[in-house]
């Protein structure tokens, strides 16, 4: 593990650059959208005088680069700026939305790993037989269903027809842990697709590893089957899976937007959607930073895991 600190430093530096690039891109794209916060706020009463007044009040009449610089300057000492739509600090938006999203994402990941790995190992052990074919076709099938459709389906069956679970988390706000039943359906929807991709990846990795010379060697030495599978083959299968997992968490943030809308969970996805609709650039920017940093940190973590489990594969930065 020589050079690990410098490797991490390189990765972090790259991460900062990536985050900055994302923020710039998001800023440019939001600027390129038709209309600004003043227009969005004016809604169906686009009285030009009112729009001009809002624009002036929000300092939107200043050039884009000035606004960006001011915002970036504030960011340097931890100030995310204030929302154009409400005048509240952006940090309250982020902290407010972070809890529910984090809860959903972590519950999903916690369940995702055993479910995905378990299904993958199960399928790999029964390669080519019924169990494998069953797991493979079900995972492929579920993977093909978009979250929104899957969510509507689950809600209709389990919440409205059978009445087992609440159909939404409306009104629970951030107090979600007090209403665990309301989390079941959202987490199921979030799990549906990543479990499938993870299981298929683990299955493929396990099959490769089980067929590899070192596993054959271990078997010749008489190492018990379970130890071969979990001690020798699985770590090699996990390497690609860990990286997939990191990517999945990025993806979860997108999935979360759909799930949050469907189940009325006031997380970051909801905040982002509203902020884009309102052209609330500081909020969009703040979220871009949060998402960027999360993504960079997760990928760094995944690469560290990969180095730990399969040092020979020497994941490049």
């Amino acid at each position: 593990m020589r050079g690990l600190p410098s490797w991490i430093a390189r990765r972090l530096l790259l991460g900062v650059a990536q985050t900055a690039a994302v923020v710039l891109l998001v800023f440019a794209l939001t600027e390129a959208l038709p209309g600004d916060a003043a227009v969005a706020l004016a809604g169906d009463q686009p009285d030009p005088e009112r729009i001009a007044a809002i624009r002036e009040a929000l300092h939107l009449d200043r050039p884009a680069h000035e606004r960006l610089l001011e915002w970036a300057g504030g960011l340097a000492h931890g100030d995310f700026g204030t929302s154009l739509a409400s005048g509240r600090p952006v940090s309250t938006y982020i902290t407010g939305g972070f809890g529910p999203t984090l809860l959903l994402a972590s519950l999903t990941v916690v369940l995702l790993v055993p479910a995905g790995v378990g299904l993958g190992v199960l399928a790999a052990r029964h390669e080519g037989r019924f169990v494998d074919r069953f797991v493979s076709s079900v995972t492929l099938g579920v993977y093909a269903v978009p979250e929104f459709a899957f969510g509507v389906l689950l809600t209709t069956v389990f919440a409205l027809r059978l009445g087992w679970l609440p159909p939404t988390a409306v009104g629970y706000g951030t107090d979600l842990p007090a209403h665990p039943a309301a989390l079941v359906l959202p987490v199921l929807v979030l799990l549906s697709r990543p479990v499938c991709s993870l299981a298929r990846l683990v299955r493929a990795g396990m099959i490769d590893a089980l067929a590899s010379p070192y596993v054959a060697q271990a078997r010749r030495y008489g190492v018990p089957g379970a130890r071969v599978r979990y001690g020798h083959a699985l770590p090699n299968a996990i390497t690609p899976a860990a990286q997939q997992l990191a990517r999945t968490i990025d993806w979860l943030l997108c999935g979360v937007i759909v799930v949050e809308a469907l189940y009325v969970i006031p997380g970051l996805g909801t905040v982002l959607m509203n902020a884009v609709a309102e052209r609330d650039v500081p909020v969009v920017q703040g979220l871009a930073v949060v998402f960027g940093v999360t993504t960079v940190a997760l990928n760094l973590g995944a690469d560290l895991v990969a180095r730990r489990f399969a040092p020979r594969s020497e994941v490049a930065a």
Binding site: P166, V264, V271, N274
Partner: protein
């Protein structure tokens, strides 16, 4: 989507479940009859079903609205969305508000009296108190209006209060305000009822922290984009609400609102789709309330530019529209056809003008006369409002039958209203309920700030001024009728329909007014609602 059987039987005949199969079969036989009563009830929600009669006190009603997420505020002067207005209405009062026909009804103002010139109005306040016990005074009224009119701010009601000379207006005594107006304004009470013109106590207050109003409910808690809990104000001047508490929750997705209602998580779901309403109407799970005449649906033609600067082309377009087909197709039948005039059923509406119907031959002849055969126009539309894109596609097909090629251009949702204000020639347009006078002053005068049809006629402006300086109501109605005749003959709004506003309630909810277009007093009004 839902099984219409078991829960229906359960709730209608609680005793039946235990009696088993035979009783179940009898209930099934009664299903048809129940569906009928369900339908009939939907017209006058609150009287349907069992358990009605005397209002009952108690309970918490949860109401789901589409909202503005984390940017929401309880500042009533910032109210922009229906959710904001519903919350503002529960916490605050206006001096006046609109009845079902959009005429101003006294609220905090108990009376108003103009001078002979109609440019000085003496408004008397009723005895009412803010939640902290202070009486509502003339100074509070002036403070509120001055806050709204603050030139440095952009509160929505600012344009509506424009006729008032606030510097010259004053409090004659604690309960009398004398408003001095910049010009004669016969419909001044409409200004008092304007969208967002709420009365707040004078002095700075933290609206998100602990808003103080004079409304039927007191503040308990608020989390922007999530929930606002309000408690009954026992001392409300209009009688304490029946409900102990009302909670406003926010669910932007229509499917989430209806699911929450069906799943018993909320008792009131605002703004449902026609398709949803059809699926659940008369099934016994929930009540569907249709607020007639809530949304005017139209196409706006820019009358200052070709091809619509020729009134024959405008008339041809009026005749191209098959209104029944538009209402059936774009609004799923949940509405009424329009007659190219705003405000069907409202005060001063010119109801006896003949209903316009499709007449393609006459339309073609008019286009020929105008030299506009093989006309091509671009229709701007956007998914910004229910039915817009559908109506555009239907109208395109109707126009094709008259030899007019309509090309549909779909634009961004968030900037649509600004985009169509000055650019393009033909666009989808809708409007919420407001008095006909307000529709004219905001959209059809030379100086109107949101004049989407670019209707600018000095003689029309003069008629409006005449109406505003006519004290006698009959005479005023005659002037409004003249203006509407003109718009009917050659105006820029092709008003093809009036959409219902659809609300779903749990079957226990009573007292939801059905005769209340969105934006009027009884719409989203929870102090007269009770849980049976």
């Amino acid at each position: 989507m839902n099984s219409p059987q078991t829960p229906l039987v359960d709730s209608r005949f609680p005793g039946l479940r235990r009696r088993g199969f035979l009783a179940g079969a009898a209930a099934m036989a009664g299903l048809g009859a129940l569906a009928v009563t369900g339908c009939a009830g939907s017209g006058t929600a609150g009287t349907a079903g069992e358990g009605d009669g005397k209002p009952r006190r108690g309970g918490r009603l949860r109401a789901a609205f589409a909202g503005g997420g984390a940017s929401e505020t309880l500042d009533p002067h910032l109210a922009n969305l229906f959710a904001d207005v519903a919350r503002a209405k529960a916490l605050f009062d206006k001096l006046a508000d609109y009845g079902a026909d959009l005429s101003a009804r006294p609220r905090l103002a108990s009376a108003w009296e103009p001078n002979a010139g109609l440019d000085r109005w003496k408004v008397t306040l009723r005895e009412a108190a803010f939640h902290d016990g202070r009486p509502v005074t003339a100074e509070d009224v002036l403070y509120s209006y001055r806050r709204i009119a603050d030139p440095g701010k952009a509160f929505r009601a600012k344009a509506s209060l424009e006729p008032i000379d606030l510097a010259a207006s004053r409090a004659l005594d604690p309960r009398t305000v004398e408003f001095v107006l910049k010009r004669p304004t016969a419909e001044f009470p409409n200004v008092l009822a304007a969208f967002g013109a709420y009365i707040v106590p004078r002095g700075h207050q933290d609206f998100d922290g602990e808003p103080v109003g004079s409304g039927p409910f007191r503040f308990v808690s608020f989390a922007p984009g999530r929930s606002a809990v309000l408690r009954r104000n026992e001392d409300y001047w209009d009688g304490a609400p029946y409900l102990d508490e009302v909670e406003f929750v926010v669910a932007n997705e229509e499917s989430a609102r209806i699911n929450a209602l069906l799943g018993g998580q909320v008792e009131y779901a605002h703004e449902l789709n026609p398709a949803t309403a059809r699926a659940h109407e008369g099934k016994g799970h929930i009540e569907i309330v249709r607020l007639r005449n809530s949304v005017m649906q139209s196409f706006a033609m820019k009358t200052d530019r070709p091809p619509f600067d020729d009134k024959r082309v405008r008339e041809a377009f009026f005749l191209i529209a098959d209104r029944e087909e538009l209402v059936d197709g774009a609004l799923s039948g949940t509405g009424e056809i329009g007659n190219d005039l705003f405000g069907k059923g409202y005060e001063y509406y010119a109801a006896h003008l003949p209903q316009r119907a499709q007449d393609l031959d006459r339309a073609k002849a008019l286009l020929r006369q105008a030299g506009a055969e093989r006309l091509k126009v671009t229709l701007d539309t956007s998914p910004v409002a229910a039915g817009f894109t559908e109506a555009a596609a239907i109208f395109r097909d109707q126009a094709a039958k008259a030899g007019v090629t309509v090309e549909i251009r779909t634009s961004s949702k968030d900037s649509y209203w600004k985009d169509i204000l000055d650019s393009g020639t033909l666009c989808s347009y809708r409007s919420g309920a407001m008095p006909i006078e307000a529709h004219i002053s905001q959209r059809l005068l030379t100086g109107s700030t949101t004049n989407a049809t670019k209707w600018r006629h000095k003689d029309f402006d003069a008629l409006y001024q005449q109406a505003q300086s006519t004290k006698d109501k009959q005479e005023r109605a005659a002037v409004y009728e003249r203006m509407q005749r003109r718009l009917y003959a050659e105006g820029g709004f092709l008003v093809w329909g009036f959409a219902d506003w659809i609300i779903g309630t749990a079957r226990t909810v009573r007292g939801v007014a059905a005769e209340a277009p969105a934006n009027s007093l009884d719409w989203a009004r929870f102090d007269k609602v009770w849980l049976a």
